[in-house]
């Protein structure tokens, strides 16, 4: 039962991933890169056991913290057992123990643990927060309840939303902001979290060490639909990542069928473009997530639902039911055909 659940699609298990965390990453062949691009968006982290776990390591920060966690758990487990044994010994004996019990238990034991912990912890802190001037910069801005993402803001400034595509083995500096309330950016498999605070820019440098599909989630309570604010993280081989960047910079895929064309017209007529951008179709809007490659995403509604036409249609018609408190109104006045065409069009954007 358990093992079935652990199975993930490419045949590797979460356990194997975990074991491989320490092994050095081998640079993938061009064929692998191609394959990674082809399968992009096909599998959601929602279907992967452990995709959001700190124990399923796919990043430098998570790796270092995992070691720390392991050693602390073992060490403090021993301390706990030791103290409980002392309670039992003290209970059983009738002769008073010496003052040295309090000395060693109250001062020496905690101080030993504290000093060890501080040395280990500070060195991990310094190592995991080191800034890399050559890192790729990605701007991530939190909104109630979605993520706005801009790759290389000083260069190509490629805008996307609710899905973070990362290159493996390359440091990335995330510049974290918030447009409204405090959110917190957390991809447990890759690194620790960092808050997104209005009026500030917090930087977080991360390095993915494993390719694969992972899940991040807002960790700071941010209002009504806080539980529905997650995102997909896809770690690609370096070459595939570069190709993806190049490919995605272009305008949105053309509507090639009559129903898709009709859907595009619904998008333009119904006011969607007031908030959403589709590059090449309607540009400039920033209030809602960029939809240029919506169909290529692994999930819908900020990492919450599988991406398919039915869910997209349901979302448009009934946003407020699926995600209470979202800024977008429910478009339940759209006619059946309009809704069908619009959702077909949006899903075709890859």
């Amino acid at each position: 039962m358990m093992d079935e659940e652990l199975e993930i699609q490419d045949g590797r298990t979460a356990r194997e991933t975990l074991q491989q965390a320490d092994s050095t990453t081998v640079s993938p062949s061009p064929r692998e890169a191609e394959q990674a691009l082809e399968t992009l968006g096909e599998r959601s982290a929602l279907d992967i056991f452990g995709s959001q776990s700190t124990l399923n390591i796919a990043g430098y920060g998570a790796d270092r913290v995992y070691d720390l966690t392991l050693w602390m758990s073992v060490g403090f487990g021993v301390v706990f057992a030791f103290v409980m044994v002392l309670v039992w010994i003290a209970w059983a004996r009738n002769r008073p123990v010496g003052k040295w019990w309090v000395w060693s238990g109250g001062i020496v034991l905690p101080m030993g643990a504290i000093v060890t912990l501080m040395v280990a912890s500070t060195s991990v802190l310094v190592a995991t927060t080191r800034h890399d001037p050559d890192a790729l910069v990605i701007d991530v801005t939190g909104h109630q309840f979605w993520w706005d993402i801009v790759y290389d803001p000083e260069g190509i400034a490629l805008r996307d939303a609710n899905e973070l595509i990362l290159p493996v083995a390359r440091p990335v500096t995330l510049r974290l902001r918030s447009e409204d309330v405090i959110h917190s950016f957390w991809v447990p498999s890759i690194s620790g979290k960092m808050d997104m605070i209005p009026g500030r820019v917090n930087e977080l440098t991360i390095t993915a060490t494993e390719t694969g599909q992972f899940r991040g989630q807002c960790a700071e309570f941010c209002g009504l639909s806080h539980p529905l604010m997650a995102f997909e993280v896809t770690v690609l081989p370096e070459q595939a990542f570069e190709e993806w960047l190049t490919y995605t910079q272009g305008e949105a895929r053309d509507a090639a069928r009559p129903d898709l064309l009709a859907g595009r017209d619904v998008f333009l007529k119904s006011g969607c473009a007031a908030c959403h951008e589709i590059r090449g179709i309607a540009e400039g809007a920033r209030l809602g997530p960029d939809l240029t490659r919506l169909g290529a995403r692994a999930s819908l509604g900020a990492g919450m639902w599988r991406l398919n036409q039915g869910n997209v249609a349901g979302w448009i018609a009934d946003v407020q039911d699926m995600k209470p408190g979202a800024q977008m109104p429910s478009y339940n006045h759209l006619s059946g055909p309009d809704l069908r065409n619009l959702s077909a069009y949006l899903v075709s954007l890859k």
Binding site: E5, I48, V65, L68, V83, V87, G106, P188, N202, L224
Partner: protein, 849 residues
């Protein structure tokens, strides 16, 4: 029935000293000792101010809130039973977890410990009541009304839903429309009044009303714990009170304290909140540990191991626990230097904790421990709390914290610490002291069932959460996806929560059952060493017919004369009751030797009246009916005036009937309970002042652009405030100095002068602020807040000075009854110093380029 009877009611009191006020005008000469101390019958019991009544009120109300918040927790756990559950919608879920945390922290844990403190302190230190019984009653009513306001939000469909720490900007009116956050801020602030009044009460009671001979180191160890806790409350609650007031002002008036567009800072709220919030955890833990340290020796049959070690651990812990508030903010992007400072300071708390835990363990080795029900809960405490403490040290590590923060790992940790560190000791204490409340023993069989259900259920529910958190589940999410590894762990946690609840159910059943069927508890049923068991439960309301001299830390074990005769026949002080007043012995804070007789109030309506006025004021603010606020304030003012108007008893001396001592009543002395209480009050005021100063400095330091853009105060008026503030300080100093021997006319004149000087200071500060628009920047708003705070202090000072002058004018005070002036002088000095500090800040801001 009331404090105040007419001056002509001189009764039959002996005329010994030859002065008019030698007589006790407030006694009830028609009543004997028992009747004087009797609780008012029927519904008039609400006028009772006795610590026994008020303490039980706190405990029962607190326990009811515990059950309500526990019910919310069960609903939360039901929602999380299965993934993608639709049992509750997000809004309800958010309301429930917010109210669960809020009620547990503010309306259960703190009031519960106050209840134990209020009930036990006088009994354990050999006093007949607390030194400020009316303050205790007033605090209770504020707590009750505040709690009702918070809970009533459900009726208006406006329950708070921003989490118990109400982070801004989510809780500002931009992102939380409606009144839900206002219910929280206003209700909790009203309830917090009970905490700060309890702090003053506890400090003064423990330091000033101990039995003859009870030196500091002969106090039961719980008194050290409560003393440290009270000082912590006095310093820790003010930042939250200031924070709440600033946030409410932002919501209500649009002042920009936390508004980034106008130079506010959301992190300022987090600093103020956690400056309170972290010490709060230790405020909850320390009294619980104190109760453990009280019960443990009883069941071992030997005194506590290392009293001196434990005292040192308590005192250092009280301080160290203030140095780690920012470890709740590790993920906010603080500089690494700060992170490391708070990380190191956080781990240091392990040292005094370790000392205490090892003293407890060492105590076990002293004799043959008895495995009673309270003892089982104590062992449960040791097990759970040690584990929670260790995960706490893990969380102090910054890199680990960045993974675990705001995940279920933290939920697991905080419940291990709070349930292990407070709820288990509290149940031990309830099993231990319920015979004292009811006179009957609880069932050992049912107690074992309750313990094992609670212990097993707790560990099942919360140990799993460590793993859930490590697997990446954030806290505060109403639903979660099915396939990423959280579902089974959550199901187990929910199962555990219900087992835990079943254990509490068994306890409640036993409470109901034992009232009729419990075995009557004889005198000292546990074989305890402390004075509260001197009388057979449930003891009479006056606690001690005569207050015995204490020569040991374990009086019931070491002083055979206490247990070899009926408790009412024990020799001691104040057996006679010549003035027909409630009285107890006042002592030197260090040596415990008697220095005065404390006159205590009889049942009165004034605390309830004052608290009702306060509640009306707060509720009307919430409802936005501002004329009603004025009515509430007026009622509160009338209540307080009636309360403080009572004729002074000082100047009388009486034979206390112990060692031939003849002591003054309510001595004019710096060791008197009133002066010590005032020092506690001043400490709270200073903490409020420094919280505001911190807010100003913080904004100045982190928002230089907005600070520079803020208009400056007028230097001339700031200078004027400096001068008049200095004058007010000198007059206050003279008031205090001349308190003992002044003649009435001069001292009344000084009072009026003080009122004038304080008014002048306030007006100058107001004028200095005039060119500044408080809506312009957060820094400007904090300047106005400081002005308003000093203005409020000055208002109190003026009211107090004029009241003192008036009382002299109408003859309510006699020459050499200097206590009111001594207190006024001390308060005046504090208020004037804070005004001077504010004026200096304004002056510097005015002249800075």
């Amino acid at each position: 029935m009331t404090d105040i009877t007419s001056d002509t009611d001189v009764g039959s009191a002996p005329k010994a000293q030859g002065t008019a006020y030698d007589l006790s005008p407030k006694g009830e000469p028609s009543k004997d000792f028992e009747a004087i101390w009797a609780t008012p019958p029927g519904w008039r019991v609400i006028t009772s101010v006795s610590h026994r009544v008020v303490g039980k009120r706190f405990l029962i109300t607190g326990f009811i809130f515990f059950l309500i918040a526990g019910l919310f927790a069960l609903l939360v756990r039901l929602q999380l039973l299965v993934p993608e559950n639709t049992f509750l919608d997000s809004e309800t879920y958010n309301q429930l977890f917010t109210m669960h945390g809020t009620i547990m922290m503010f309306l259960f844990a703190i009031p519960m410990l106050e209840g134990f403190a209020v009930y036990l302190i006088p009994l354990m230190i050999g006093a007949r009541d607390l030194v400020f019984p009316r303050l205790g009653a007033f605090g209770y009513w504020c707590y009750l009304f505040g709690g009702i306001i918070v809970l009533s939000s459900f009726l208006f469909d406006a329950a708070p839903m921003g989490g118990w720490f109400m982070y801004v900007p989510l809780s500002t009116s931009v992102y939380t429309e409606g009144m839900s956050a206002d219910f929280w801020l206003i209700g909790i602030t009203l309830a917090e009044i009970a905490s700060v009044t309890a702090a003053v009460e506890i400090i003064a009671a423990i330091l000033c009303s101990r039995a003859p001979g009870m030196t500091l180191t002969k106090m039961p160890i719980l008194m050290w714990y409560l003393l440290a806790t009270a000082f912590m409350i006095a310093v820790a609650f003010p930042p939250l009170i200031i924070g709440s007031i600033l946030l409410e002002a932002e919501r209500l008036l649009g002042l920009p304290f936390f508004d980034i567009a106008r130079g506010g800072d959301p992190l300022l709220w987090q600093h103020l909140f956690w400056l309170f919030g972290h010490p709060e955890v230790y405020i909850i833990f320390l009294p619980a540990a104190g109760m453990v340290a009280t019960m443990l020796p009883v069941f071992v049959g030997k005194p506590l191991f290392g009293y001196g070690f434990v005292v040192a651990a308590i005192v250092t812990m009280a301080f160290l626990s203030f140095g780690l508030w920012a470890h709740h903010m590790f993920a906010t992007g603080l500089p690494e230097m700060s992170l490391t400072l708070f990380s190191a300071a956080s781990t240091m708390v392990a040292v005094p904790t370790g000392v205490q835990i090892f003293c407890f363990i060492a105590t076990l080795s002293l004799g043959r421990p008895r495995l009673t029900v309270p003892m089982m809960f104590i062992l449960g405490f040791l097990c759970i709390f040690v584990l929670g403490g260790l995960t706490g040290v893990m969380l102090a590590s910054v890199p680990f914290n960045l993974q675990a923060h705001d995940s279920y790992f933290v939920v697991a940790h905080l419940h291990y610490v709070l349930i292990g560190g407070f709820v288990f000791p509290m149940f031990a204490a309830l099993y231990y002291w319920i015979p004292h409340f009811t006179g009957r023993m609880m069932s050992k069989t049912l107690g074992k069932w309750a313990f094992w259900l609670m212990f097993a259920g707790f560990n099942l529910a919360f140990f799993m959460m460590h793993l859930t958190g490590m697997r990446g589940m954030p806290r505060r999410i109403a639903s979660y996806p099915a396939d990423i590894g959280w579902d089974r762990l959550n199901m187990l946690s929910t199962l555990g929560a219900f087992i835990l609840a079943a254990g509490i159910g068994v306890f409640i059943w036993d409470v109901v059952r034992h009232r009729r069927k419990g075995r009557p508890a004889g005198r000292n049923p546990w074989g305890a060493a402390t004075l509260e068991w001197l009388y057979a439960p449930s003891a009479p309301g006056y606690n001690f017919r005569a207050i015995p001299r204490v020569t040991s830390r374990e009086p019931l074990w070491d002083q055979p004369d206490l247990m070899d005769r009926p408790a009412a026949e024990i020799d001691g002080a104040l057996r006679r009751c010549p003035d027909h007043r409630r009285e107890t012995i006042g002592c030197d804070p260090v040596s415990g030797e008697p220095i005065q007789i404390l006159r205590l109030p009889h049942p009165t309506w004034f605390p309830l009246l004052s608290a009702s006025g306060m509640a009306l004021l707060f509720a009307a603010t919430l409802a936005g009916v501002y004329w009603l606020c004025a009515v509430g304030a007026l009622i509160a003012l009338i209540g307080v005036t009636g309360w403080v108007w009572e004729p002074s008893d000082s100047g009388v001396t009486r034979d206390i009937g112990l060692d031939g001592l003849r002591l003054p009543v309510n001595a004019v002395d710096k060791r008197s309970h009133l002066y010590v209480g005032l020092i506690g009050t001043n400490l709270i005021l200073w903490a409020l002042f420094f919280s505001l100063l911190f807010a100003g400095l913080y904004l100045w330091n982190t928002q230089p652009v907005f600070t520079e853009g803020t208009a400056r105060p007028v230097e001339v008026f700031a200078l004027l405030a400096l001068v008049s503030g200095a004058v007010a300080f000198v007059i206050s100093w003279m008031t205090a100095r001349m308190a003992v021997r002044a003649n009435l006319r001069i001292s009344a004149g000084l009072n009026v002068f003080l009122a004038v000087a304080l008014t002048a200071t306030g007006l100058s500060l107001g004028c200095a602020l005039l060119p500044i628009d408080p809506w312009s920047t957060a820094f400007a708003a904090v300047g106005w807040a400081m002005g308003a705070f000093v203005g409020a202090l000055i208002g109190v000072g003026v009211y107090w000075s004029l009241l003192n002058a008036l009382r002299k004018a109408v003859g309510a005070v006699h020459p050499s009854q200097g206590l009111p002036d001594m207190l006024l002088g001390s308060f005046g000095k504090a208020a004037a110093t804070m005004a001077l500090g504010t004026a200096a800040v304004f002056f510097l801001a005015g002249i800075a380029t």
